[in-house]
């Protein structure tokens, strides 16, 4: 039997005015696990308790089979943590900083130097590692933050919003790196994000919490199946002055249920693979230009709401559009 990486049982944390965690019971296996939750859902509190930095009001938590309440020190020696916020002093070089952090995790000086060189190379930081970090781009800073969490070769890393503030390319690279942490380095990962789609791409398993409670915990595959949607956008033509409406009618005739957003996008459920073909055929038949056809992006909020017109807001901020033009 595989030992759970993280296990909580009825975990509750009450502060004088708020309840951050409310009877949370989760069981996380080795691999990459996505932890999804809006701000204030209890993600940070959970991490704090897991590392043994705050006592739980009720319930128990264990990390790598160790009790968080009693064995915090041992847990922290075997776990890496990458915070969401900036945590790098600007007037120190990446090498100097990561070596120091390795020593703080108990690595002897020479080993710390070797591990630092290795780790910085693995996260993709080369010559710039000798320069003060104040001049780094966001992408480089995120890499250093990741390196300091990996430098002591932990068994588990906790990554808090690692893609925050990155551009689409940086985001892709970071997600690839996270995937490699498990596949190549053999380290289990718990990664938090409020963007469900990102986690779909990297995680084996997804846990959704809200208001300190467990909302869902399932494998990524089943998650995607349950929530996949398609966004379609078409041009107008002389024959169809309102292309969007025409397509909706055609799709409705083919038995596909759709919703239109103010941005003229049509959203529909991907019930099975044939939906793509139905859309393509409908567009061709009407002689419209297909501007966009992409898998819908889910933000955490979508999991909570019933899908409907409200989704429009979530689409507005989309960053990685796979645009299809005529």
């Amino acid at each position: 039997m595989v030992v759970s990486v993280i296990e909580t049982n009825g975990l509750t944390k009450r502060y004088p005015r708020v309840t951050a965690l409310d009877g949370l019971t989760i069981d996380i296996q080795p691999g990459v696990t996505g932890l999804v939750g809006a701000n204030g859902a209890g993600k940070s509190t959970l991490i704090k308790i897991l590392l043994g930095l705050a006592p739980a009001t009720e319930g128990t938590a264990s990390v790598l089979g160790l009790d968080s309440a009693a064995q915090g020190e041992t847990i922290r020696a075997q776990v890496g943590y990458m915070p969401e916020h900036d945590c790098l002093p600007p007037d120190v070089s990446a090498t100097e900083f990561v070596v120091h952090m390795a020593c703080m995790s108990g690595l002897p000086r020479t080993a710390a130097r070797e591990r630092t060189a290795d780790t910085l190379r693995h996260v993709g930081l080369y010559e710039e590692r000798y320069r003060p970090m104040g001049g780094y781009s966001t992408g480089m800073k995120q890499r250093v933050k990741l390196a300091q969490a990996l430098v002591h070769d932990p068994k588990l890393v906790l990554l808090d919003e690692p893609t925050n503030g990155l551009d689409p390319v940086g985001r892709d690279e970071m997600l690839g790196l996270i995937r490699r942490i498990h596949s190549d380095f053999g380290i289990s990962v718990l990664v938090t994000s409020h963007l469900l789609r990102e986690l779909e791409r990297t995680s084996d398993h997804i846990v959704v919490i809200d208001g300190g409670r467990l909302l869902r915990s399932q494998t990524t595959a089943s998650f995607v199946e349950a929530t996949a949607s398609l966004a379609v956008e078409v041009t107008d033509s002389d024959a169809h002055p309102d292309g969007t409406a025409a397509l909706r009618t055609a799709l409705a005739a083919a038995g596909v249920e759709t919703v239109t957003t103010p941005g003229r996008q049509i959203h529909l459920e991907i019930t099975d693979e044939s939906v793509y073909d139905v859309v393509r055929d409908a567009v061709v038949e009407l002689g419209l230009g297909l501007v966009r056809m992409e898998r819908g992006r889910h933000e955490i909020a979508e999991v909570f709401r019933s899908r409907g017109a409200e989704d429009a807001a979530d689409q507005a901020a989309d960053v990685s559009n796979a645009e299809v033009t005529r």
């Binding site: 020190e73 922290r76 943590y81 945590c87 120190v92 703080m104 108990g106 690595l107």
Partner: protein
């Protein structure tokens, strides 16, 4: 075709670390060393080195001059006593303390490095201990190294071994007390703000404003004919505490107005006050970090 050489680039992939992992006391030492080096700008950018190193050079200058004069002119004692050196150079020492303390804690708060420390095995009290020890050590080095130079120079200039050694030992004792008191006070003040500038200003304020007030009051008290009150008034600033202690217990010349030495009772009160301030500030510092988290 092969060129016949075996030179190739291998991607050796990720290697797990199987070497030894040292415990908390090692991590605490690592933090101590890192902080101590940082307080002199070592391991940081060139710009961070300018001020501490510059101040240190100024601090050393009188000792160098003193030794040179003693050697060439042939004095029979050094112009500045060992116990008065830090007090004579108080503005420079104060400035250094005001720079070093925020450097040690405000930067960690401002750039949020503390969560990285606390996500590692060390506890919050280990962090406080390491930082306090590092600042004590930094201030001690800053204050005591000129004395070492003066002592060595004094011996080479044949100023009399017994007398010099006695004065040097007293100077060292005062330096320890000076470092313990100032480190606790300055570190606590600096830990209250993540802004380094505020930290510097606050520490300078805490060190100088009470000192000027105390000195003024002491002068007034003396003029009014109550000489005995002078020592008691000295209780209320770190600088006058140290001054009173060195003149009461370490044969130093008093820096109080009109070179008034505190009475015996006031002397003990000054020592007790110095210890009390050190302990209270240290406890407050610990309290400041008790709830620090991620």
């Amino acid at each position: 075709m092969s060129t016949g050489t075996d030179a190739r680039i291998h991607n050796i992939g990720y290697r797990n670390y199987t070497g030894e992992r040292l415990g908390i006391s090692y991590a605490r030492r690592a933090l101590f060393t890192h902080s101590l080096r940082g307080s002199f700008g070592l391991g940081r950018s060139a710009r961070s080195k300018v001020l501490p190193m510059g101040l240190f050079a100024i601090m050393m200058a009188p000792a160098v001059v003193m030794v040179a004069i003693a050697a060439f002119v042939g004095l029979d004692e050094l112009p500045i006593e060992y116990t008065s050196y830090a007090l004579f150079m108080q503005p420079i020492v104060g400035l250094y303390v005001a720079l070093a303390a925020p450097q040690m804690v405000s930067l960690d708060l401002r750039f949020k490095v503390t969560p990285l420390y606390f996500s590692r095995p060390i506890e919050r009290r280990d962090y406080v201990v390491a930082k306090y020890a590092a600042l004590c050590c930094a201030i001690f080095l800053f204050v005591a190294l000129p004395l070492v130079l003066a002592y060595v120079g004094g011996l080479l200039a044949d100023l009399g071994f017994a007398e010099q050694t006695r004065g040097f030992a007293q100077g060292m004792a005062l330096s320890v007390l000076f470092a313990l008191l100032h480190a606790a006070l300055a570190l606590w003040v600096a830990s209250l703000t993540p802004r380094r500038g505020f930290g510097v200003a606050a520490v300078i304020g805490v060190l100088t404003i009470p000192y000027f007030a105390v000195t003024a009051l002491q002068a007034v008290a003396y003029e009014q004919g109550s000489e005995n009150a002078v020592g008691w008034i000295g209780l209320f600033s770190p600088g006058s505490l140290i001054d009173g202690i060195q003149s009461s217990f370490l044969d130093g010349r008093s820096g109080y107005p009109y070179e008034q030495t505190p009475t015996d009772g006031a002397g003990f009160a000054l020592l007790a006050m110095a210890i009390l301030v050190t302990v209270v500030c240290y406890l407050l510092l610990g309290r400041r970090y008790r709830k620090a988290g991620l």
